[in-house]
Symmetry: C2
Subunit: 81 residues, 2 copies
């Protein structure tokens, strides 16, 4: 079972890495890009014996405790069986 976690900075938090990427894209001639936000994408390979509802609870706990800085970041996740 795979859990895919998408973490990004909250909209009100400044993203210097995104700004740098945005500048780089403009320099390369990609003018259609208005804004860039860079976040993290974490794929967890989990034991298949865990029930999906339990896995959802566990992934939420993992995000809150270790993976996400909830002060400045927000996250969503999907579980594929």
């Amino acid at each position: 079972m795979k859990a895919r976690i998408y973490i990004k900075l909250k909209p009100e938090v400044l993203d210097p890495q995104g700004k740098a990427v945005s500048g780089g894209l403009k320099t390369l001639g990609f003018d259609g890009v208005r804004d860039v936000r860079v976040g993290k994408y974490i794929v967890l390979d989990m034991d298949d014996k865990i029930a999906v509802a339990v896995a959802e609870k566990q992934v939420k706990d993992m995000c809150e405790v270790l993976l996400v800085n909830t002060v400045i970041e927000e996250y969503e996740f999907k579980i594929d069986t």
Copy 2:
């Protein structure tokens, strides 16, 4: 229009950051995690006047030229109008 790009290391490439996260999760008691891969999640806010087919071509070019190291990383993307 938003383009969401998911970048991860190719399966055969060692992921020390993923190994560290995996160790951290095990220390915290999350035993059901077999493997962790940490990648990047990039959200591009693009000009709405660009046609979706053109945007797809542009995002592919951005990935190949700047955003993704195609030697060690693989990517996929989705465009939401």
